[in-house]
């Protein structure tokens, strides 16, 4: 087991400060990512969780300058081994992408071109960043396919992507990402399109990757089980902001933000006691065009009160922080009562009905 604690800032591989990504649109300025900060230590796995539209993918793509929209504006700082990715010119980041930072996406089919063999594509990736011969690169491709568990790699290296199954394709994409021994791998929902048994194989592969290659991993997912399986630290995103972040066990076993509570209790679990009703989060995730000015979660929060009109900052500890106005010493008690209420009241689900048990009588509405 790796040390779960966040390493001191100086030791971080990636240090992101106040990352903000906004888009000018016809309907106004849309802030997709709003002041995101985190640090990633060497060999660490950071899990970023959140629902669709929470900004988890956009934030990672903006780090690698993969957002080509001229209306996009990226601000903040992202120090990768001391160099600021945001300030880098296209040429510099191009040399970094694929070589030191690799990214894999949800759908392995779109990551490869169907007209070349898998081996050709991996070899090209190697030759783009290193001066090696065609033959040597081909040999490396076979070796990499072997490493990610493709059976009979000497033969399969000459297959086209469509001849691979979904799990094999995702492995080949990982092989491609590993080709240049990146120090950081960003994986965006890498197992979502895969079956459970294949997912287990890919997760085992990613775990090994950290040991064998010493890579750090940022894993973006909506699946709490997957994050629990593989991450050291967790960042929970809501409406473009960090709702809560910290070491995995702290966030999952002593969650502090009502959104994290909701996420954790609304997922039916395969290996826990069965509940008759799932405690739900009312309403649905906001569109980036209509995010509440104060706490973005307030419109869906059952513990909303006056203070929530003001934007909460991340606070509450050194490694485990959350952005919420509730009194910190009463959180666990509040969480329990909330779950009980959610189960017994049987809410219709779509309408928010905040309770007024908080901070005296001055509750909202």
């Amino acid at each position: 087991m790796p040390d779960a604690a966040v390493p001191p800032a100086g030791d971080a591989l990636l240090e992101v400060r106040d990352l903000t990504v906004s888009f000018r649109t016809r309907r106004g300025l849309v802030t997709a990512v709003d002041g995101l900060s985190f640090s990633l230590g060497r060999r660490d796995v950071l899990g970023i969780v959140g629902e669709s539209g929470s900004g988890k993918s956009v934030s990672m793509m903006s780090l690698l300058k993969l957002i080509r929209d001229p209306n996009a504006r990226i601000e903040g700082e992202a120090r990768f081994e001391g160099r600021d990715l945001i300030a880098m010119r296209d040429k510099e980041i191009r040399a970094l992408r694929g070589r030191e930072i690799a990214m894999i996406f949800q759908d392995p089919m779109t990551a490869m071109t169907p007209v070349y063999t898998v081996g050709w594509q991996i070899a090209e990736q190697i030759r783009t960043h290193e001066s090696v011969g065609r033959r040597a690169a081909h040999e490396r491709a076979i070796q990499l396919l072997d490493e990610v568990g493709i059976p009979d790699p000497g033969r399969r290296v000459n297959d086209y992507p469509h001849e691979f199954s979904g799990g094999m394709r995702q492995r080949a994409v990982i092989a491609m990402a590993l080709a240049n021994n990146p120090s950081l791998l960003i994986a965006d929902e890498p197992t979502t399109a895969l079956d459970v048994t294949t997912q287990a194989q890919i997760l085992a592969l990613m775990r090994r990757l950290r040991v064998d290659h010493g890579s750090s991993i940022i894993l973006i997912t909506h699946d709490m089980g997957v994050v629990f399986d593989i991450a050291d630290n967790v960042l929970v995103m809501y409406a473009g902001r960090a709702a809560e972040q910290g070491p995995k066990h702290d966030v999952f076993h002593r969650p502090r933000h009502p959104y994290t509570w909701g996420l954790l209790s609304s997922v039916p679990r395969p290996r826990a006691e069965r509940v008759s009703r799932l405690p739900t989060i009312p309403g649905s995730p906001p569109s980036p065009l209509s995010i509440a000015p104060g706490c973005p979660f307030a419109p869906r929060c059952r513990l909303r009160h006056d203070k929530c009109d003001e934007r909460p900052e991340l606070a509450g500890g050194i490694v485990h922080v959350d952005a919420c106005w509730l009194p910190r010493d009463r959180r666990q008690e509040l969480r329990r009562s909330l779950i009980e209420k959610a189960v017994s009241e049987g809410d219709p689900g779509d309408l928010s009905e905040p309770t007024d048990s908080l901070s005296g009588s001055d509750s909202a509405r």
Binding site: E51, V196, T198, Q199, S266, R271, S276, G346
Partner: protein, 364 residues
């Protein structure tokens, strides 16, 4: 008027029954000159759905669970075997003959974006089945549409909206309302929550539970997510390569899987662990699911099974009762007749702690 909750209700009569049901599709073989081959999407499935229960059908992509669902409501022709509903054989009924049966057998689809006509208003979408089945005059139909919207947590003001004006969760509610229109007895739901965000998924799952209580519905719930299936199901059928590997009541299936495939599937599905529980070492299967065009001889799972022996290639295991209420298609079922874990199952997985049952968790 409320019926007892799902877990307590006594098993009712058999409502829907599949007997040795198969659905094969013609498939093109690899070579251009080769002959015709057959994709066995559903291959000899026998199962029962009892009144008031939720039968969960779980399996990985390509295992035939969706095709099975479509066969059960006769949305597709059946290659061989029979489907009967309330004791009546509906396998070969014509479209016209099926129409009255359709009132009772409804389907909810996975993708609420694809299963609702984007050019029609929600009111029209919901009144169509009512018109087809001659529910009543316009006023009656409009009353019923409003009622349906309310039942699924929407309201009458939504009738004039188009599907794109709804969120994913609301759209799935419309799909559910449409299935409910004619007061069906059975709803076959094919991955109804897998396209939804987690917070919305929980809302829709609760809606399914409420509707079941309110209208005494019987569900066939098809899904790949093991947590979701366990949550909704009374009984569960596990499928692999078009065949049923195991059927059992939900809780015993999860605490003591009897088929090696069920065991591997459960072990592979990630879950949050409670504090103080030792991390599990999942059973990793090697390779991928074989192609349903070229199924392995004997047991379909034998190519990936950690317990496979020679007999598994030679003889096709039939679904048999290994312990009370536990039906398994395996030569080496992991349960003894008294319901305990079989010795070969324990010795074959030295690194894998038994999946803790709920009692074991609370003790730790």
């Amino acid at each position: 008027m409320r019926s007892p909750s799902r877990s307590e209700s006594a098993p009712g009569d058999v409502l829907l029954r599949a007997d040795n049901l198969s659905k094969h599709f013609p498939a093109r073989s690899g070579s251009l000159v080769g002959g015709r081959e057959v994709l066995r999407a559903v291959d000899g499935v026998t199962l029962e759905v009892r009144s008031g229960e939720t039968l969960g059908v779980v399996g990985e992509s390509g295992c035939g669970k969706s095709t099975l669902g479509r066969c059960l409501v006769r949305l597709t022709d059946i290659t061989s075997g029979t489907v009967s509903f309330q004791g009546r054989d509906i396998t070969r009924l014509s479209r016209r003959q099926l129409r009255p049966v359709r009132r009772d057998l409804q389907l909810v689809f996975q993708d609420p974006y694809a299963s609702l006509n984007p050019r029609r208003r929600v009111g029209d979408i919901l009144s169509e089945p009512l018109q087809i089945h001659q529910y009543g005059d316009r006023a009656a139909i409009s009353r019923r549409v409003n009622e349906l919207l309310e039942v699924v947590g929407l309201n009458a003001s939504h009738t004039d909206r188009f599907p794109h004006e709804f969120s994913g969760g609301q759209r799935q509610r419309v799909g559910i309302a449409r299935a409910l229109a004619m007061n069906p007895k059975v709803i076959v739901a094919d991955e109804p929550v897998s396209a939804l965000d987690v917070s919305i998924q929980a809302q829709v799952l609760n809606l399914f539970a409420d509707l079941q209580d309110e209208f005494a519905l019987t569900y066939v719930f098809i899904a790949h997510d093991l947590g979701v299936v366990r949550h909704v199901s009374t009984r569960i059928a596990v499928m692999y390569l078009g065949e049923v590997m195991e059927t059992a009541a939900a809780d015993p299936l999860y605490s003591r899987p009897a088929h090696p495939y069920t065991e591997a599937l459960l072990s592979a599905s990630p879950d949050l662990e409670d504090e103080g529980v030792a991390p599990r070492e999942p059973i990793l299967l090697t390779g991928d699911v074989p192609n349903p065009v070229n199924k392995p001889s004997g047991c379909p799972f034998r190519t990936r099974c950690p317990y496979a022996q020679d007999i598994c290639a030679a003889e096709h295991p039939t679904l048999r009762e290994v312990a009370p209420g536990r039906h398994v298609a395996c030569h080496f079922a992991l349960l003894t007749p008294d319901g305990n874990v079989a010795p070969h199952a324990l010795s074959a997985r030295p690194t894998t702690p038994d999946i803790p049952s709920p009692e074991a968790r609370t003790r730790q």
